[in-house]
Amino acid sequence: MVYVDSWDTFVERSISLFRADPVATRYVMKYRHCDGKLVLKVTDNRECLKFKTDQAQDMRKMEKLNNLFFTMMARGPDAVVPEELPKEQAAPPPSKKGRGRRQ
């Protein structure tokens, strides 16, 4: 099986694979709780890329990749992933030194 060792290479190659054929490319995620293993697969039925891991740190990376794929699949292969909005909007700019000028 075509297992890729580096996460960044896997992401880069999957994105180019998707952009080359957006309709045929699919992203599969297999999770086994009993073994604590996660395998990601991206294929366009011609070429297949896989990434396996048992590390919790890869969860966050996988989430980002999920977001990327969701955006590209729903909006189009050229769509740019918007920055994470909720956290940034929730934190107001910290410029409340002293009393505010409320009239």
């Binding site: 999770y31 073994d35 989430e63 969701f70």
Partner: protein, 145 residues
Amino acid sequence: MIVDWTVDLNSGLWCPASSFRSQLDPTLDLNNTEVLLEADPFLNELTKLYERNKTSGSVWVTMKRSTLKHQKKRKTIEESPAVEPEYRCLVRATDGKKTISCTLSAKDHQRFQTSYATVLKAHMDALKKREKKDKKSASTKAPGS
């Protein structure tokens, strides 16, 4: 509970209609039908899939872009480039026995992806945590050294 009974073609005996249906058409596999759901019920069922498969089994989640049209219709659409097909993101989840699916439009996907990420984080916790100190640790922060 009312169960439809019909006569089995092979043995001539009475049997429940569901088994009769599968005998009539062997390609109709009643146990492996895919259930198409809306986004929220899909996430609920996905949660149940993960919970059911904690001690053994795998959960597969597939994502693919699709127009959800049949092959023949798709060809006619391609021939008339004036009308741009509406793409949807198809998400499928299965544990080998039960399959659920859901389609997302460009509007739905952002809300779905946050909820989906929450479900994943909640259930996929069997992965190994790094024992060495690292810059961003998901669990407790190491005291400053």
